[in-house]
Symmetry: D3
Subunit: 133 residues, 6 copies
Amino acid sequence: MSTLGFIEYEKASPEVKAVYDDIMATRKIDKVTNFWKALAHDPVRLKRTWEDTKQIMGEGALDPLVKELIYVAVSVSNQCDYCIAAHTAAARKKGMAEAMFNEMLAVVGLANSNNRLVAGLQVEIDEQFKAIG
Amino acid sequence: MSTLGFIEYEKASPEVKAVYDDIMATRKIDKVTNFWKALAHDPVRLKRTWEDTKQIMGEGALDPLVKELIYVAVSVSNQCDYCIAAHTAAARKKGMAEAMFNEMLAVVGLANSNNRLVAGLQVEIDEQFKAIG
Amino acid sequence: MSTLGFIEYEKASPEVKAVYDDIMATRKIDKVTNFWKALAHDPVRLKRTWEDTKQIMGEGALDPLVKELIYVAVSVSNQCDYCIAAHTAAARKKGMAEAMFNEMLAVVGLANSNNRLVAGLQVEIDEQFKAIG
Amino acid sequence: MSTLGFIEYEKASPEVKAVYDDIMATRKIDKVTNFWKALAHDPVRLKRTWEDTKQIMGEGALDPLVKELIYVAVSVSNQCDYCIAAHTAAARKKGMAEAMFNEMLAVVGLANSNNRLVAGLQVEIDEQFKAIG
Amino acid sequence: MSTLGFIEYEKASPEVKAVYDDIMATRKIDKVTNFWKALAHDPVRLKRTWEDTKQIMGEGALDPLVKELIYVAVSVSNQCDYCIAAHTAAARKKGMAEAMFNEMLAVVGLANSNNRLVAGLQVEIDEQFKAIG
Amino acid sequence: MSTLGFIEYEKASPEVKAVYDDIMATRKIDKVTNFWKALAHDPVRLKRTWEDTKQIMGEGALDPLVKELIYVAVSVSNQCDYCIAAHTAAARKKGMAEAMFNEMLAVVGLANSNNRLVAGLQVEIDEQFKAIG
């Protein structure tokens, strides 16, 4: 059970509805997901989170599908079940094939393992990696 | 100072040298980095880690650059300084422009934030995300 | 299903009952929560955990409500569902308004994001922050 | 060495300078810290991060000092050295006494320990914590 | 619901069946657990994960029970419910008494707490710990 | 630089000296490490942390060396450099051979990887792991 419950569209204030409308129009969906309906208890947070998300996840130097894969990868690494479910679905919608999902997951596992081998062995940074790009 | 120190090429056993040689040939570099020289204290581990890494990070359904970006993203999320330095360098070598680095980082920040909003609000998974793909 | 199950008051040993009694008296509640009933399988651990908790979460330089907010913030950051549920309830009992909960959560999200921007950019500590307080 | 280096005020573009000016005015300081100078490589990110930070960390239902304590607590829990140094300094500036720092830290330690006891024992959420507030 | 569902033995390809057979023979069980059936969607990953697991968790300088305890400890620290359940069962099968489980858990809690006290206090490494072993 | 600096034995209050004396006697060392000297700014915390540590890390159902290995494993997983250095030294003093260190580290890497494979695949807990022990 969600901590504060959900704000459904019908009961939302005009400012919340405006954000919901923008989410639905941007994503071409006909209802917003639970994440947004939980955030809406604080309309300023809802608007800020949506605008950050829209700006960050949109077109840019990286393809939106690559961004979704990175988002899922971080959520898997952090073990956030909701985020994994929601963004795996979003990634599929943007064209993620099962093989892409599996390869992303393999990288997440490998990085999590190697990060700890580095820590345990207290490996020092190589000189050539210290230069500024 | 690294926990066990480094095994330099000149002092390495034949089985360690064979792995070092494969790393240098695969990556087109002329010396292996500290990570591998620390792992080499346990030759079985060195070989296993390298073979997993080579298999997972190579060509596949995802481009090797995308895999590097995911690897850096997880390492940033886990705050592993060595891994960030080494794999940011690797990603640049594979063509990562600064704008790509910045966008990847923005996604990592956003996912880490949203993962916690979801947790704090105890958001339940939407029905449509529960279906098997 | 809890790993070891719960020790109910009626079946508890005298030393476990003594801790349960102190928890109920301190918190003005009439039954202990599942956390303590799971800990009670190891009476020394139960006593140590309770005494640490009582000492740390009580009155001091910080208000007990502020301490609860910090406890919830860490539990959200770590994504411990049980801890979020139990300590959000505890914070409400100590006077946490919904706006306070939402602001705490916004700080947790922000810190989790900024922590990773810092890591990804490998930001060095400013000289003025290195002095001892 | 920071990944991308720092953008100093003198060399900043007008839009970056505008953000730097707002940071200095808001915080009553005469130079911005390394975090902002690293973020400035991507002016959109700089502006977004600053505006989110300003909005979230300002006056509200919670006192700005309490917010700083929560920010430090999360950064300690995540072990982000830069963030701990910078925000401990900020908290002191807002009036954090050493005893407050120590109590905050004790709560962070306790929550991190108890979060794991809960996980290890797989404690189920008590019925009374499942109700919506 | 698992993201990709499970590959049951009857429907598995010969290469997947070969790994399943080796798991069952090595562990003296008559069916493989969900983890392996989920991994089997990518037969290369299934084989790699199983071979790494078999090599790492087998007899060596450390007793297999000690390895299971370390595995559970890390999974508790990371709060992976599936892993805790599966490896606690595996540890019991290898002889873990309840008192051993409880002591392992106490160490996990303590280390998680002390790790953060160290971070918050920014404790510098003692000279005597810097020497190579 | 440590946040609060260190309390040296000569300048310590009698209650702090008493804890330092017990640490040195228990561990058969002639000076306490930086961790304890940083904790001593809050004598109640120093005493509580030491007594918990002494109780938890001492003889029991698990050998003290096994406990040290678990402590190092968690610290590696959390990437706490100080803790890794200090407890690797402690483990060596209790008899940890290099092969034991390497095997412990391999388990930490494996568990960190597998924890994420489980998360990404959203693997459900097998029925046989749900029973109470």
